[in-house]
């Protein structure tokens, strides 16, 4: 078994960001929804829909990209000796925070990766979203400095670490075989998808790179503010540039705020929704991408977060919390405010026990 490398270089993470950006733009060319080559939040929501857990008929498809991300991370972690079943750090809190992060993301209509990709497609609402993530991360740092801590994880039986990769394989079989109980949209964004092989292949590649480089689209802001360190941020910038160049080359670039695909122009709620994502993800120790990658490494706390993200997606669409092109729903606005309040409470209440 290969020993893990001492330190992954800045060159590799820039390359990883470029790969993510370029292939995300290509996925749109190959029929993924516009400005949504890879969106972890949207794709979790689509997958949950395919399982019948929400009834939004245009948003139901098991997205092979997220399966690829998990399996790519699993393979990379295993080969480099970093696959370790671990868990026990406030799992229920992480579950709930995951659900709240998903609420924020679906009010904005994207995860931090999609905010970056939207901007790379000319959708200037991406700036509002990224601004929200940055401010949320900054607020999260204030709580960190005051001793916020979800507690230690401990080693778990190895079999527990295998659950997430095995479930991912089962989901992959479902999307290939399409048994009768798996739903699949025939119109709307859920019907827009690249070929399975392409989607899973790109997911695997990005998953390997993201696991090795510790790529994280919220940690990027956190490290910038906390440490003035740009290592993680270089992936965000590289993703933006890679996608931008490809979008321009492929005629997928349209500059402006209005009329953007799967997007709305309510600046306040774009900002607040993503502030909830930034704050919640800082408390969780990573953006939705990072949670998927960690869960592939055997981290069951991240797996609980992923379950929370999935559950949040189901609730959002069952309770009408999601935004549309016309803007946020009233219920969605309340959900974001409530979500921010609950997350701040966790920031105040979750302190380390002396050990």
């Amino acid at each position: 078994m290969v020993r893990s490398r001492l330190f992954t270089s800045t060159t590799l993470i820039i390359l990883a960001g470029l790969v993510l950006g370029i292939f995300a733009a290509l996925l749109v060319r190959w029929d993924n929804p516009p400005n949504m080559g890879i969106c972890v939040a949207c794709f979790m929501r689509d997958t949950v829909g395919a399982l019948g857990l929400h009834k939004a008929g245009t948003l139901q498809y098991i997205r092979p990209e997220i399966i690829g991300l998990v399996l790519g991370s699993f393979v990379a972690a295993y080969v480099f000796g970093e696959f370790r079943a671990r868990g026990g750090s406030s799992p229920l809190v992480r579950f709930l925070l995951g659900a709240l992060v998903m609420v924020g993301a679906l009010v904005f209509l994207g995860c931090p990766i999609r905010a970056t990709l939207r901007l790379a497609g000319g959708d200037l609402n991406g700036i509002t979203g990224l601004g929200g993530v940055a401010v949320g991360a900054l607020a999260g740092i204030l709580f960190l400095k005051r001793g916020y801590n979800l507690g230690r994880a401990t080693k778990m039986p190895t079999a527990q670490g295998w659950i997430v990769p095995l479930v991912a394989i089962v989901l992959l079989l479902f999307v290939i075989v399409t048994p009768w109980f798996i739903l699949s949209s025939i119109k709307g964004p859920g019907s827009m998808h690249a070929a399975i092989g392409i989607s899973v292949g790109i997911g695997l590649l990005v998953g390997v790179l993201a696991q090795r480089t510790r790529m994280c689209f919220v940690g990027a802001w956190r490290d910038l503010f906390l440490l003035r360190d740009g290592y993680l941020m270089s992936a965000v910038v590289a993703t933006l540039l890679g996608a931008l160049v490809l979008n321009l080359a492929l005629g997928q670039f349209d500059l402006g705020f209005k009329g953007q695909p799967i997007s709305h122009t309510s600046h306040l709620w774009n900002f607040l929704g993503m502030a909830l994502v930034g704050l919640g993800a800082t408390f969780l120790g990573g953006c939705p991408l990072r949670q998927l990658i960690l869960s592939g490494e055997g981290d069951s706390d991240a797996a609980m977060t992923v379950l929370g993200l999935f559950t949040g997606a189901a609730f959002v669409h069952n309770f009408g919390l999601a935004s549309s092109a016309a803007g946020p729903s009233d219920a969605g606005k309340w959900a974001v405010m409530l979500g921010l309040a609950i997350t701040i409470c966790f920031g105040v209440l979750m302190r380390a026990r002396k050990s």
Partner: protein
């Protein structure tokens, strides 16, 4: 003098914050030993040391890693 920061079982961003706190509380000439065992935590703590331009050494134990950071005058405090 050596301070030990036990960040075992803790993941991003707690080890970074604990390391920062320990470095700021330490006196010049002290060593801060940070214990981690999560895969990403080792690199995160090293990035803290590098961001503050402090020398560090990395030691691998059987079930955890130790990063020993020497507190010299922080570059942010130099005038």
């Amino acid at each position: 003098m050596q301070t030990t920061v036990n960040a075992r079982g803790l993941s991003c961003p707690i080890p970074q914050q604990m390391t920062l706190d320990a470095i700021r509380a330490a006196k010049q000439g002290d060593t801060i030993a940070v214990l981690v065992d999560e895969p990403g935590a080792r690199e995160s703590v090293i990035r803290v040391a590098k961001a503050l331009r402090l020398p560090y050494t990395l030691g691998k134990k059987s079930d955890h890693d130790e990063i020993h950071i020497s507190k010299e005058e922080l570059w942010t405090e130099k005038r």
